[in-house]
Amino acid sequence: MPSHSAKSAARDPFFSSILAVLWILLAFFVLYPLLRLFLRAFTTDSGTFSLQPLLKVLGNPDNVHAFGNSLLLAAVVGVGGTLLGFVYALVAGRCGLSPRWTRVIDTINLLPLISPPFTISIAILFSFGSRGLITYDLLGISRYSAYGFTSTAAAEIITYFPVSYLTLRPILAAIDPSMENAAFSMGASRWRVFRSMTLPLAMPGLLNAFLLLFAASLADFATPLILAGNQFPVLPTEAYLQITGQFDLQGGALLAVLLLLPAAVVYFVQRHWLAGRSYVTVGGKATQRSDVEIVAPAVRRLLITLCTCLTAMILYFYLLLLYASLVMAFGANSTFTLANYHTIFTDGREVIVDTLIIAAIATPLGGLYGMLVGYLVARRKFVGRHVLEVTTMLNYALPGTIIGIAYLLAFNDPPVELTGTAFILIACYIFRYSPTGIRATVALLHQIDPSLEEASESLGASSSRTFRRITLPLVMPAFFTGLGVMFIRSMTAISATIFLISISWNLITVRILENMTELALGPAAAFSVLVVVVVYVVLMLVARALASLRTQQGGRIENILGG
């Protein structure tokens, strides 16, 4: 099976035109804004380019401290979130749960991902603070501080682990059982099989999930803003404060640029790790399913218990939210009321519609874009492939605030005046939130034998047809992951959005944030509940539509909402 064939770009019109379009888009929506930002960051007051500002920023021990904190937080969140996602993926894919339970877990675990800005953080504050519902009311611990590293890391892990779960589940599902069986038959214990087969074969997924989580945590300013307290400054928050507090755009931009370094290192490490090894487990020969129980009953119980507890906690957070949306004033006046919903459906009607329109446009575009980039990067050989791959990650790895500002700088003036339009929001979403889809696709393609695509080509199918009929269905779970995350982010993004919304285009999340700062917890909670409901309904419908589409062709691949 000499399978790693070189495909020449030159003779494939579909491919080369796609590539050209992609580069133009990336140049315009990723490189150009960042260039504008960098120019700003590295220009001195006298208007000349200089590294002086950077050195100044680096010379500040507080910044170095914050940088270290950011790395620590990102590493912990990356590892913790990836592992937690992996545990869930194991429970869903290896513990023989009934499809119904898998679906329940799936559904609840999407919640943190959907969580509109700050919900998890606020819920943690209310639950674990000095008068927290759990720490004080339940456990009687008073004066417990919910601020600091632990709670920040916990909140981020809970918020981001679904990404890891969504990336890893299809990976686990695609591991050929005969690999594990072969190891078993040689007398390996379950633990050993897990260690030497399941885990390494899931490596592309694990590394990609880690990369996603690491970068996400590195760029997250909202959670630390609320939870980190004063002992634990991190770079994105510092950058945010620099810009919105000191109005020092240059300083903020420089801090943000620093964040690219660790993200890049992680990217290259994961690439190096995966290079030269093969993870193909979906070969040209279909394997029979197997009755072997991969997970020992005791471990299975343990895992399920663990997941159930965490799932229960997530559920509790959101019940808290639901409760807050149904009372006059959370914690003060528990009278039941629908007034909050009334408010959002009258005052908020316009933002709901705006948000939905933008999400409806950004989701399919972003999903396809992610899929396509993932495919090109994993399957095609062309000059500048790695540069392209890195470029697609840039907007993701930078704090949203920075991206927002960069877009504002780049697209505020003619000739490319896009500010004030929906277009700028859509573009921002597509190029900022598709890396999940990209990484998931890349990881999954690592497992699929290229001979399947070759077979299609030999049967006369063009590259585009091969892509649509063979590649796409095979990476459908990753596509779903990308699509789902894209939609969820379009519904809930805040950091970049703050700078891109306009009088014509305002979004739900901005309203939620606003409500929070206005101390209007009720409407904020009601909006959040609305977002959650909308996301679920839409994902469910999409999943169902696509599922029925696939059963016509006799597909068998799981989707984002289970079974």
């Binding site: 072969a182 078993f184 038959s185 040689m186 007398g187 214990s189 050993r192 993870y279």
Partner: protein, 365 residues
């Protein structure tokens, strides 16, 4: 290979094994249907049968990858029906190889030894030895995706035999190798298996391979075992038409029993009287039966005359030449070996057909 004390050979016994699958059109089908097989300690038993007859499924159940819908499996004295695969200590060569894609060739082969916690030096020498054995010395650091189909198959083979399991299972381990290598490999497998006394179940679709390697052969069809016996017995006394045609080629010539007793029967076939072995249940004078005549037992001599036949087609196959011959209403398959006169008959030529006078099998279905 590794020099641990050879374990005591164990018997395997399948009792009333049934495995059902859902078939989209045919409903619930029995891929394996009420199979009883006993493999003696140290024996090499081959499962032979047409594609889709249930060989792999049977093997997978013995190895513990699949649970039987009904029936029990014993290894030694233990009922292992519900035992997990890694407690059965079985070396398994998968039909799809199941090479670990993320491990180098060396690590693939070393896996079983590492599981057993052998010292590094021993592992190294054992792996190198077995790689030499399968003709892949020096391939240790290659990655699986850099190997040809046959090379992958040999890695799968090496991986299963190197750790000297109590039981070996082979699922078409040589299907992607050329005749020469196949011959050589099956020799090695057989030698190793005999030397270590490892009870072995071997699946192949290749009759010749089955005959060359097996102590006994179980021929399966449609999920059931049709006949179990040594190669010579299966060849000499096929129990029905399927067997007659599946192990070697046969001409099934209709005939009339002239006279019969416990030891044998005389049957009139194509105007010749043949001495035949008695069938079970016994045939009696007057019965209409079919006589199994192997193509290589038919002599063809050029020349016409009364009762002569004519050559319909001729296929040259190197060491032998195959003919189809029209004799009356019957079409006979015959084979001539070497380059003698009977190997140079032309299509359309008239020939004399001589059937073997004795030792023929009768079938009565």
């Amino acid at each position: 290979m590794a020099s641990i004390p050879t374990p005591q050979p164990v018997p395997i016994r399948l009792e009333g094994i049934v495995k059902r699958f859902d078939h989209n059109v045919k409903g619930r089908i029995a891929a394996v249907d009420n199979v009883d097989i006993s493999v003696a300690p140290g024996e090499l038993l081959t499962l032979l049968g047409p594609s889709g007859c249930g060989k792999t499924t049977t093997l997978r159940m013995i190895a513990g990858f699949e649970h039987p819908t009904e029936g029990s499996i014993f290894i030694g004295d233990h009922d292992v029906t519900r035992l997990r695969a890694n407690e059965r200590n079985i070396g398994f060569v998968f039909q799809n190889y199941a090479i670990f894609p993320h491990l180098s060739v060396f690590e693939n082969v070393a896996y079983g030894l590492r599981v057993q916690g052998r010292p590094e030096a021993e592992i190294r020498s054992a792996v190198e030895q077995v790689l030499d054995l399968v003709g892949l010395g020096g391939y240790g650091t290659q990655q699986p995706h850099q190997l040809s189909g046959g090379e992958q198959q040999r890695i799968a083979l090496a991986r299963a035999i190197v750790f000297q399991p109590r039981i070996l299972m082979f699922d078409e381990p040589l299907s992607n190798l050329d005749a020469k290598l196949r011959g050589q490999m099956r020799g090695e497998i057989r030698e190793l298996q005999k030397r270590l006394g490892i009870t072995t179940v071997y699946v192949t679709h290749d009759q010749e391979e089955a005959m060359a390697i097996s102590d006994r052969i179980a021929v399966m069809n449609h999920g059931s075992v049709v006949q179990i016996d040594t190669a010579e017995a299966l060849y000499a006394r096929p129990c029905n038409a399927f067997m007659a045609n599946f192990i070697g080629k046969s001409n099934l010539l209709p005939g009339q029993v002239l006279q019969a007793d416990a030891r044998g029967a005389q049957v009139r076939v194509l105007d010749q009287t043949l001495q035949c072995l008695q069938a079970a249940p016994e045939v009696r004078a007057g019965d209409a039966v079919r006589v199994v005549v192997r193509p290589e037992q038919i002599s063809l001599a050029p020349g016409g005359g009364p009762g002569s036949a004519s050559v319909i087609s001729r296929t040259f196959l190197g060491e032998k030449t195959e003919y189809q011959v029209q004799a009356g209403t019957a079409t006979l398959h015959a084979v001539a070996y070497g380059a003698g006169a009977s190997a140079r008959l032309a299509e359309g030529q008239a020939v004399q057909v001589v059937l073997p006078a004795e030792g023929n099998a009768i079938i009565r279905d």
